[in-house]
Symmetry: C2
Subunit: 210 residues, 2 copies
């Protein structure tokens, strides 16, 4: 398989963790987002949104959208599972993941921040916007798992909730968010980071890291 990504893209980071947890190797093809490489016609031909990641599977099929890729990995390579078996627990895990993947990350991604700059907002307000989006999403997530014993988001095994949380916390730090208000999220992150699958997927461990 081939994974088109970028070391700092949190959506790519999610898929890297999933591939590692499943023990699946993939060739990593970096696209430098700050240089606009995701807008090259050859890339848009496989991902019309001009976003990373994109996964090419072993038959050459193209998969886009990180959570759709991860659900596909989980359906085609069931062990270890990235979602619980019980439908209600699955819904809770997916809702946590989507609070980050739908309502948080897309509001603070490179494209949105570039648009804010185009509208004339000064850099301080652009960073403030990104920090705000992270705080809002993380605060809701802290509440969503307040009653979950852990140590990970939903129990002892990693789920797609952890796959979304760890990259989002990296973003939040980059935008200067004070994470002290989120002790339960930090507990999950600390537990996740002891796992090799998470450690190996970290941005600073990728070949295109700066």
């Amino acid at each position: 398989m081939r994974l088109h990504g970028y070391f700092r893209s949190s959506a790519s980071y999610r898929v890297r963790i999933a591939l590692n947890l499943k023990g699946l190797g993939a060739e990593h093809l970096p696209h430098h987002l700050r240089k606009g490489e995701q807008c090259a016609p050859s890339y848009l031909a496989i991902n019309p949104q001009g976003l990373v990641p994109t996964l090419e599977n072993d038959t050459g099929a193209i998969l886009t959208q990180s959570l759709a890729i991860i659900e596909w990995l989980d359906e085609t390579h069931p062990e270890p599972p990235l979602l619980p078996k019980d439908p209600l627990r699955r819904a809770k895990v997916r809702a946590f993941a989507m609070a980050l993947a739908c309502d948080t990350h897309p509001v603070q991604n490179l494209k949105v921040l570039a648009r804010l700059r185009q509208l004339g907002l000064p850099e301080e307000q652009v960073t403030g916007w990104a920090a705000w989006a992270n705080r809002e999403g993380l605060a809701a997530c802290e509440t969503l798992i307040a009653e979950e014993p852990g140590p990970l988001c939903f129990g002892a095994d990693p789920t797609i909730a952890d796959l979304c949380l760890v990259p989002q916390l990296a973003n939040a730090r980059r935008f200067g968010v004070d994470l002290a208000a989120f002790p339960r999220l930090l507990k999950a992150e600390a537990a996740a980071k002891t796992l090799k699958a998470f450690a190996d997927a970290a941005p600073e461990r990728q070949s295109d890291a700066e």
Copy 2:
């Protein structure tokens, strides 16, 4: 079941369509988003994001995030299915849905537009922002199903792709987006709107419609 929603919320609209397709009745509990009712402490206690929809199922369990709710409905009430059986087709359908539910709708929702106003952007730029987000997402979606014969997004039966598309097109119109560039999406919308499940879920058919 009880569905907390708002007539014009496109995420609520998705879940209303899903419930109708599954033939499931639900009590509809409207929360007036423009009056800020989603920020009442009693609502935040069940949905810490302060977003609609929230589904309370028959055992009183709380489900949030429209796509997580819809996946749960599909897992617990499998007929008619809202996702294809083949894993690769499922990934394509989910990716289309998420291009709208992750990268489009959250960038133009009420909360984000309110934040833009707080930053001092004039109303014209705020509407322009919402139109931009819709155009970007819909243009990608048009390409994603360009080779799909239809008439719906992915074949003859409704999937979560259609559940996301129809409400998003309603938003796009509200923000003045010219939809003529998206003939394939309009074809899918026209086919979907002939179905009673979609028609009954339309914003103007809800008890809280203005």
